[in-house]
Symmetry: C2
Subunit: 659 residues, 2 copies
């Protein structure tokens, strides 16, 4: 299930020529070498062009129009654009090397992710997982300095001949009067300003404390009482999507959330192709690192601007990501993750100054990363365990995290096992004709009945595309209505005005152009369905192999936590119908949304939770699926709706859908 | 006993003019504003001109000749130069503002400290204190990682599918297999290079570990086995003198030692005047900080060059200094040390990257500073306690550290008290006509008998001047021979060809010009003797007040450790004769040399010792002499040879010297 691709090589030994590319409507410009693609040049110009396949010419999301004939148009060789689109002058930016000065017009649907939706403030609300509800009680047990950083207001006694402690010891003494802190440390530049600051503030100061392995570090001393202004950022760095939450570290509450595409996508759609880019391209790590740091900085900027928070008051950031994403974020070479025996540079990461990693918050602020388990089960999954509370319960639970990678954790408070399978980007809106992320305008649910289709979009806007949860609903609905066969092919015998034959094959139109937000039909193709079936098969097969590897059967699982970037909604029943989730009673399921960012937030506000994550990461046993022969068998068996072994889905079969 | 001086103010509002100053014989140049003194310009040109009074025009050490009439000569207003010197064209560089382009010739005696002696490798050997001898046994008890930094060679098992720990955890596991290390940490930039380095070195690496409060930090990972190449530097930053020792951290042995003047001296001769400069001059802290950092860097450069050690292999530096020196070294404002209630910014200091403080060793190397007790009892004294072993013994001991400040520690393994008095620079060769530091050519001992004088110099060279131990011998000898009265005035009734009346008063010639290394008479003046009496009185009074403050008498003291920058030699008997040291049996005394650098070295090679120093610093009780009325009484009573109360010196009196 790995989507490998070779890094592009450019011609060597030719004389270098430079051209100017202007992107409309914003008139942003890039000066680039001959041969650079329009998509790459857009990155240089700081222009976002939609693109989920990593520039492979297969997603068709980067279509643009150009003026000037100085661009070699190779897009005709790709079947992804329709005849109409080609006639209208569309080309694929990713497949078009620049061969002269050129103006590029980006149509709305090719820029909606980066510009239209997100810039206009389409904050996404995420489901609160079970653990978060329990959190306040947990918190009561842990000492005051539980967040990654905390601020405390101190009124120090004035020094005298009888009380002549040094300035620093005066602060240490006051802190230790309040709390039992084994080790206190401080940075040189903070001490350097201490003497004057204490006297100018009449010994009334606010101290920002940062978590250290055995104690606390004084990160900052401010005059007066600023203890009520302390914020942190929880981040989920997904392969496809970056999600940030601004958290008030005084109250523990989420102030706002934003999300954007992971800009690394221009270097490859999945972790494998990004590793190849990072390791096989000269200085390939730099652009990947800068891409995600840029995403995070941009999202933080938007958070603080929209909420009127000063960047100075953001003193902590806690990031959860898979192992490759965390490596790229920290500038660690991910080269040996990909090669047997699959060794990451690190699974646990020291707490850093955020500035060291290039992240712009308070210059003294800290950056922590969730600890991971192995090369293919990272901090995002540890975060998911934290958020689901699996490890707190004596019940046997399974966590299924559905994203570009599907990660599964099984266990209870005594043992935990996990595995990972590459699922591709279909659940996040990639690799499909009208796919998009779960943001405003995305069809997140759909019902199909008697040839009628009803859709609902995020934010209630006119539909722009289909996100992961929408696809599950649609394919489930098509299958329930026998409009597709178990192999995912359309039943062409059924008379239905929505079934359309195009040059690219058959597609099912959900929303006709006159009703859509793009003016074009929103449809699912047989190719889309085939992609989604592959993705769901990978996830289901991984879960089944893991459950069986510990001698259990799905029926022994008490609770199923389903996580993923599906916005607020996932129709569990439909997910069972298509064979993504096991056929268990619905009351055993809980959809917990983006459990990675939720776990990051929990670890951000609670040191106790962060330490628990470290324990979880150490205790989890990783199963490497690529060396298991049964995984490929299970995968192939799952490439049907719901499954080749229908006995595994008695409820679905009982509804008389297929067979 | 404070030598205060106002910082110089330069005219404002005038048009700025720039002139060039050329220093001969080296032809070094400085371009400076009108009004800058020749001494200040020398600092800018990187030329060392001897100067111990901090540019106050009283030590006469900075005399130079100039060509060109564009310099306002104000030195005639100062009585320090002889009529002959003025006739020969000498002026005082510190008192001569530049008013045009000028060439300056520096005579040998004005540049001998910085250029002649030290550049030619006049390493000074220091006495090894008692503790150092005991050290190897102590060391056996403490774990392997006892030095501030240590290197360890690891051959890591190759990773496999069954042993798939991350690179970092593989190193951690190997370290923990060998030793029980509670907390391990690492810097980001070291992790960033890890993956490639491990594989290129075939998993054979040397890890440099640094001491942290609760564990160790990996500072550096090198390919192959470099574990035998690890060096540290122990430093004593004295107010007048900076001493460095290169220590082999594998064997614990001292490789070489060097010393130089503390260049801060151009901003003031004692800590008080330097604090005033740092705090009352705009950006005054910067030059003081850079001066001492420059000294240390220069001395380290000389150490590594002379010993053929790579700077990369110097991974640690441990500095002992008084509280003001440590503040200036770390760039901490020393402004409130000087003002009641005398509060330093810090008494304990975090372990830093040496590079953070501007110190050039291995870029990952660490800098630690000895913890101090109060504003006037600093890390140099904690180091002295460590070196003398006072706190290990049930005997009552006193440590008398004689330098620009005189610090006294009294106690045993149960209690420790301490105090400090400003003694002035006389014991380090400052504030006297022919004074110099204890380097090659300095008269370190002298005997006077029947009008005959015999002197011996450090290194056996022709005498260039008199260092502290020489002064003690000379004044003791003059007093024993009744050539001076108890008030320090010469007995002019005695016929002695060495007693000479000059414009500046009476002086006693030790070495006539034809036998000296400078071609000029080497003599002590009544002014010199008066200075030294003030210095010895301050030290003795401080010791007596401290002993009495705990209800004891000198006779109850079992051991007297005498420390100070006297080179290898101090005549204890003569020091008793002049009333510097108490009149106790000679076998109770031990001269331990520079105990500050010795203690720094002990703490550098032994974490156990460093932690002990922290305990010592916490447990020591500081007596502030400035608020005690009995100190001034004791000081005045001690302004005679040996003392106004002759009963305190029965042995001296018994020899029938005075009275």
């Amino acid at each position: 299930m790995e989507f490998k691709r070779k890094p592009k090589k450019r011609g060597k030994g030719k004389a270098t020529k430079f051209f100017e590319v202007v992107y409309l409507p914003d008139e942003k410009k890039a000066t680039i070498e001959k041969g650079v693609t329009l998509l790459e040049a857009a990155g240089i110009a700081g222009v976002h062009i939609n693109n989920v396949c990593g520039g492979q010419g297969v997603c068709g999301k980067c279509k643009v129009k150009i003026s000037g004939s100085t661009v070699a148009d190779r897009s005709k060789y790709f079947s992804i654009l329709s005849k109409e689109e080609l006639q209208e002058g569309y080309i694929l930016a990713c497949q078009t090397p620049v061969e002269g000065n050129v103006e590029v017009e980006i149509p709305p649907e090719s820029r909606m992710e980066g510009e239209q939706i997100l810039t206009e403030g389409g904050a996404v609300a995420y489901s609160e997982p079970a653990y978060v509800e329990r959190h306040p009680q947990e918190e009561a047990k842990v000492p005051f300095y539980s967040p990654l950083t905390s601020k405390v207001y101190l009124q120090l006694p004035h020094p005298s001949l009888k009380d002549n402690l040094s300035d620093l010891d005066r602060i240490y003494r006051e802190l230790r009067r309040k709390w039992d802190i084994p080790v206190l440390d401080i940075d040189l530049d903070v001490i350097q300003r201490l003497a004057r600051l204490l006297r100018q503030s009449d010994w009334k100061i606010t101290v920002t404390l940062g978590r250290e392995p055995q104690g606390l570090r004084i990160l900052q001393v401010e005059p007066g009482d600023t203890s009520k202004k302390n914020f942190g950022v929880a981040v989920d760095v997904g392969t496809t999507t970056v999600v940030v939450q601004l958290v008030n570290l005084v109250t523990g509450q989420v102030v706002a959330s934003y999300a954007s595409h992971n800009s690394q996508i221009r270097y490859g759609e999945d972790v494998i192709s990004r590793m190849i880019y990072a390791c096989d391209t000269a200085n390939g790590l730099g652009p990947l690192n800068q891409a995600v740091i840029g995403n995070i900085n941009e999202l933080i900027q938007r958070l603080v601007r929209s909420e009127g928070v000063s960047l100075e008051d953001v003193t902590a950031i806690l990031v959860a990501g898979n192992t490759t994403m965390t490596h790229l974020l920290l500038g660690l070479e991910p080269c040996f993750i990909r090669l047997e025996p699959y060794i990451p540079t690190a699974d646990t990461f020291p707490v850093l100054k955020a500035a060291e990693a290039g992240i712009r918050i308070n210059p003294y602020g800290l950056l922590a990363c969730m600890p991971g388990v192995s090369s293919y089960v990272g901090g995002d999954i540890t975060a998911g365990v934290l958020a689901s509370g699996i490890d707190d319960s004596s019940h046997q639970s399974i966590l299924i995290d559905i994203g570009t990678n599907g990660e599964i954790v099984l266990g209870n408070n005594e043992w935990l096992v996990c595995c990972s399978a590459s699922a591709g980007p279909a659940f996040e809106g990639g690799g499909t004709k009208c796919g998009m992320r779960a943001v405003e305008g995305a069809i997140q649910s759909a019902s199909i009945s008697d040839g009628q289709v009803e859709v609902s979009t995020i934010g209630g806007a006119k539909p722009l595309g289909i996100c992961g949860s929408g696809f599950i609903d649609i394919i489930g609905g098509l299958f329930e209505n026998a409009l597709i066969h178990p192999d995912g092919k359309f039943d062409m015998d059924q008379a239905n005005g929505r079934l359309k034959k195009t040059e690219e094959g058959v597609e099912f139109v959900l929303v006709f152009g006159k009703e859509s937000g793009t003016g074009k039909d929103i449809a699912v193709t047989e190719f889309d369905i085939s992609n989604l079936i592959k993705s769901k098969a990978a996830v289901f097969a991984a879960a089944r192999v893991l459950v069986r590897s510990v001698g259990l059967d799905f029926s022994a699982i008490d609770r199923v936590f389903v996580a993923g970037g599906f916005g607020n909604y996932l129709n569990i029943e439909k997910a069972i119908t298509i064979g993504l989730l096991p056929d268990l009673p619905l009351d055993r399921f809980q959809f917990i949304g983006n459990s990675s960012v939720a776990g990051a937030r929990i670890a951000l506000v609670s040191n106790h939770a962060f330490e628990k994550a470290e324990t979880v990461a150490k205790k989890m046993t990783y199963f490497e699926l690529s060396v298991r022969t049964d995984f490929m068998d299970e995968f192939i068996a799952a490439l049907f709706l719901p499954h080749t072994n229908q006995k595994l889905f008695p409820t679905v079969m009982g509804r008389g859908i297929a067979g």
